[in-house]
């Protein structure tokens, strides 16, 4: 349906996504409050902060997986992310892959589920070179290979907003480069990327935000 992500324009995306005075709780603790942020189309945000500062929580808020305890979170057209979760693609530590299925079956499922392609396996979109293990069950992969499979979903997503929680974890140098290249291509199409990372990084024109200044 959307073909190769590197070539096709995104469907019109209602950027910016805005946070105003946003607050978030986990369990019975306040993680952050009074957060302002404006995510434009084409932007790359790097979220930084100590362990437990609330980076993952922020991404989940943007994905519509958490409810804001205060303030406003809304897209440019006034919609709340909670009502429009399909606008964001979240890739976190839990990678939504089944150890008992092969790489091909896992990716084929997610491709089919998101209505991506006729064929069950998105061979055309294989930025991380996991096609070679298509028939290997996921449980027999190394940590980085598994991460590559999870990230391959980036190549067949139609979501304008990518939320990447420590995406380069466990990847070798080539894999890390591929992630940032995919992100750049996505931005050129008008999409936005919000990523957390602990690595010192100099990506040109990335906007940075550091959480947990209180600590």
């Amino acid at each position: 349906m959307f073909g190769n992500p590197f070539s096709t324009a995104l469907p019109l995306a209602p950027f910016p996504l805005m946070l105003r005075e946003a607050a978030c709780w986990r369990g019975e603790t306040e993680v952050f409050a009074g957060l302002d942020m404006m995510i434009e189309g084409g932007a790359l945000w790097l979220i930084r902060g100590d362990n437990g500062a609330g980076k993952t929580t922020l991404l989940r808020l943007l994905a519509g997986m958490l409810r804001a305890a205060g303030g406003v979170v809304s897209w440019g057209d006034g919609q709340s992310p909670r009502k429009t979760p399909e606008r964001a693609l979240f890739i976190g530590h839990a990678d939504a892959l089944k150890p008992a299925l092969t790489v091909g079956e896992n990716l084929g499922f997610w491709a089919g589920f998101s209505g991506f392609a006729e064929s069950p396996w998105p061979q055309a979109s294989d930025p991380f070179g996991v096609w070679a293990y298509a028939d290997v069950p996921l449980r027999a992969l190394s940590a980085g290979q598994r991460r590559r499979v999870a990230l391959t979903r980036l190549a067949f997503s139609a979501a304008p907003l990518w939320l990447l929680d420590e995406p380069v974890t466990a990847l070798d140098a080539a894999g890390q480069r591929t992630v940032w290249e995919l992100a750049a291509a996505h931005r050129r199409r008008g999409g936005a990327v919000v990523a957390t990372t602990h690595a010192p990084m100099n990506l040109p024109d990335a906007q940075e935000m550091t959480l947990g200044g209180l600590r």
Binding site: M65, D95, K98, A100, L101, F109, W110, G112, F113
Partner: protein, 221 residues
């Protein structure tokens, strides 16, 4: 529709590949049915007398057994959030998962139940009623189970909770299911019992997907 079918396909594949699916249910059921004559002693009359009840009780327990992974595995590995943020409505997702659960655990039960009936000396004339009653009752069990699994998602002691919640809801299915078979065994009309079973299944179909979808939305917060 593609998404719906994709979910059903994947769940069936997982049930076939993984421990907690079809094989466990079948294994449990066959073993439970085999254990009974050992515990009760071999008299055919006694076994025939209890056959309908045992088969139905075991079918209920087998269904319960395979339920606690219905949403739990997906929730743990982050799949559930992605499934819920796709184009597929949560109600349809519940329906797809319940359907896959039924195909993977209810249907095989129906296929082996006549065999179990033979092992327990169930009179031949009651065998068709047994199959039909399971055909009508197991979908209701899958739907009620999906509701329970959604409610217990992420709870401490989820599996125990699930059993305590689903059992009271599933008891009518058991009573009418076993009752219909018993009627058939005694040569009475099994029709009314089967009709009620069908009614329960339809009611579960009307209520459970919505209630379970509401529970799922809570769970991924």
């Amino acid at each position: 529709m593609t998404a719906f079918l994709a979910v059903v396909r994947r769940d069936l594949l997982l049930a076939y590949r993984d421990g907690a699916g079809t094989w466990t249910v079948l294994g449990f059921f066959v073993i439970a049915v085999a254990v009974f004559p050992l515990g009760l002693g071999p008299e055919p009359q006694l076994l025939a007398r209890v056959a309908a009840g045992v088969v139905w009780a075991m079918a209920l327990l087998a269904a319960l057994l395979s339920l606690d992974t219905l949403f739990d595995a997906d929730w743990r590995d982050g799949s559930l959030e992605l499934l819920l943020s796709g184009e597929l409505a949560p109600e349809a997702l519940v329906l797809a998962k319940a359907l896959a659960h039924w195909l993977a655990s209810g249907l095989p039960l129906i296929v082996v139940a006549p065999l179990a009936g033979v092992l327990l000396h169930l009179p031949g004339n009651a065998a068709p009623t047994l199959a039909v009653s399971l055909l009508l009752g197991t979908p209701a069990l899958s739907l009620l189970g999906a509701l329970g699994a959604a409610l217990a998602l992420g709870a401490r002691r989820g599996a125990a909770l699930l059993a305590v919640m689903v059992l009271p809801l599933a008891v009518p299915v058991l009573i009418f299911g076993a009752g219909a078979v018993e009627s058939a065994m005694l040569g009475l009309a099994a029709g009314p019992g089967l009709l009620i079973l069908g009614g329960i299944a339809l009611m579960a179909l009307a209520v459970c997907p919505f209630a379970a979808a509401a529970a799922l939305r809570q769970a991924v917060e």
